[in-house]
Amino acid sequence: GQGVEQPDNLMSVEGTFARVNCTYSTSGFNGLSWYQQREGHAPVFLSYVVLDGLKDSGHFSTFLSRSNGYSYLLLTELQIKDSASYLCAVRGNSAGNKLTFGIGTRVLVRP
């Protein structure tokens, strides 16, 4: 089966950075996505990775290591408005190829 694990909470300071970790296990691997979800709102797509390494998208960067079943989302130059839940989602090769989400990491950015 598929499993996606993330820490529940993460606190950081405005102007610094936050790294949200994600570990996963899947039957096959067809990519990993990150979504941002603000309180009371729907998840919004941030990033997709399928190859190993770091993908720099400016404010958000994502890293993937397929051999370790590990990814992280790096948020730099944090702003208060970055406070949200960040969801890791993995797609395997199982029937239907559905996206399996982690429970989400609630990031709190304080002044």
């Binding site: 996505s33 729907a42 919004v44 559905k98 429970i103």
Partner: protein, 116 residues
């Protein structure tokens, strides 16, 4: 483009009553998904359709949950004999072409179901 539209935004039912949730996907998207979100379980996959055909309903509680997609412009999720443990936010999402896209799901705002 109004995005994925879900109605109602909030629904309150009594235990044992039926609840029907509606979703209008983004026009032109071929895949439609239903997820359920709670604080304890997070986002749980329920079912998905591709080109209106049911592809995977492995997340659906079989006894009381059913989903349909009678046309490309809407899908429904029906819960019969609702129970308090069904209380959750039900999210619908659509995707342009699930097999070849980069897995981008566009979510609706969700329907918050409260079963008293």
């Amino acid at each position: 483009n109004a995005g994925v539209i879900q109605t109602p935004r909030h629904k309150v039912t009594g235990k044992g009553q039926e609840a029907t949730l509606w979703c209008e996907p983004i026009s032109g998207h071929s895949a439609v998904f239903w997820y359920r979100q709670t604080i304890v379980q997070g986002l749980e996959f329920l079912t998905y359709f591709r080109n209106q055909a049911p592809i995977d309903d492995s997340g659906m509680p079989k006894e009381r949950f059913s989903a349909q997609m009678p046309n490309q412009s809407h899908s429904t999720l029906k819960i019969q004999s609702t129970q308090p443990q069904d209380s959750a936010v039900y999210l619908c999402a659509s995707s342009l072409d699930y097999l070849f896209s980069q897995n981008t799901l566009y979510f609706g705002a969700g329907t918050r179901l409260s079963v008293l």
